[in-house]
């Protein structure tokens, strides 16, 4: 068996996921089923090569039904005080995302301001 170049495979996998998701967004208007197919492929690649989805695309597909989500069309986005609630209008699956990064950022800002005053 030829030695597998994992680094290369992972890099290509990451690029392909990015390409596929970008394409999914572009074709969605005309063919949402095709967009779903691209999501399916991207997920397969991510799983096979153990590569995480780019953060910017993480929230734009439904983990339950695999649809590509577009706010306003098949996705409902609501912000509560504790979390962001994303509902897939295709299958009804609900995803809740707490504000972890934003809270950390606020904490750090407060810390910096506190140090300045002292």
């Amino acid at each position: 068996m030829r030695k597998r170049n994992l680094k290369l495979e992972r890099r290509i996998a990451r690029e392909r996921i990015e390409i596929l998701m970008q394409l999914a967004r572009e074709v969605f208007r005309n063919d949402p089923a095709l967009a779903k197919r691209y999501v399916e492929l991207a997920r397969k690649i991510a799983m096979r090569y153990n590569v995480r989805f780019p953060r910017k695309w993480k929230r734009f597909f439904c983990k339950a039904c695999g649809s590509f989500l577009v706010p306003g069309v098949n996705m409902r986005v609501r912000c509560t005080k504790q979390r962001v609630v994303i509902t897939c209008l295709e299958c009804g699956h609900v995803k809740r995302i707490p504000y972890i990064r934003e809270k950390k950022a606020m904490k750090n800002e407060a810390k910096l301001k506190g140090e300045e005053k002292v």
């Binding site: 290509i12 996998a13 392909r16 390409i19 095709l34 197919r37 492929l41 096979r48 090569y49």
Partner: protein, 87 residues
């Protein structure tokens, strides 16, 4: 996209412009379209609004990657899209 041209056999074909430059079936030669889907043995090209499935094994394809053209024998592409990264 230099990576893509060099590793075309491993990379994403969907979204690329494609021309069939040779095939065992003469009616396929010269067709030009965009790849919209891929399975183990077939490429689905969208040609002038119509979708056409072409077997990988019987044709030679020329893809446009960025501003380069890359010619590939279909036989080397026979594999499920997620498997092609490995081979």
């Amino acid at each position: 996209m230099n990576l893509r041209a060099k590793y075309i056999t491993k990379h994403e074909l969907i979204g690329l412009e494609c021309e069939i430059v040779a095939a065992t079936d003469p009616t396929l030669v010269g067709l030009r379209g965009v790849v919209v889907d891929e399975t183990r043995n077939m490429l689905t090209l969208e040609i002038e609004g119509k979708r056409k499935k072409v077997a990988k094994a019987i044709a030679t394809f020329r893809f446009r990657v960025g501003n380069r053209l890359v010619e590939v024998e279909g036989k080397t592409l026979v594999a499920r899209p997620e498997d092609r990264i490995k081979r």
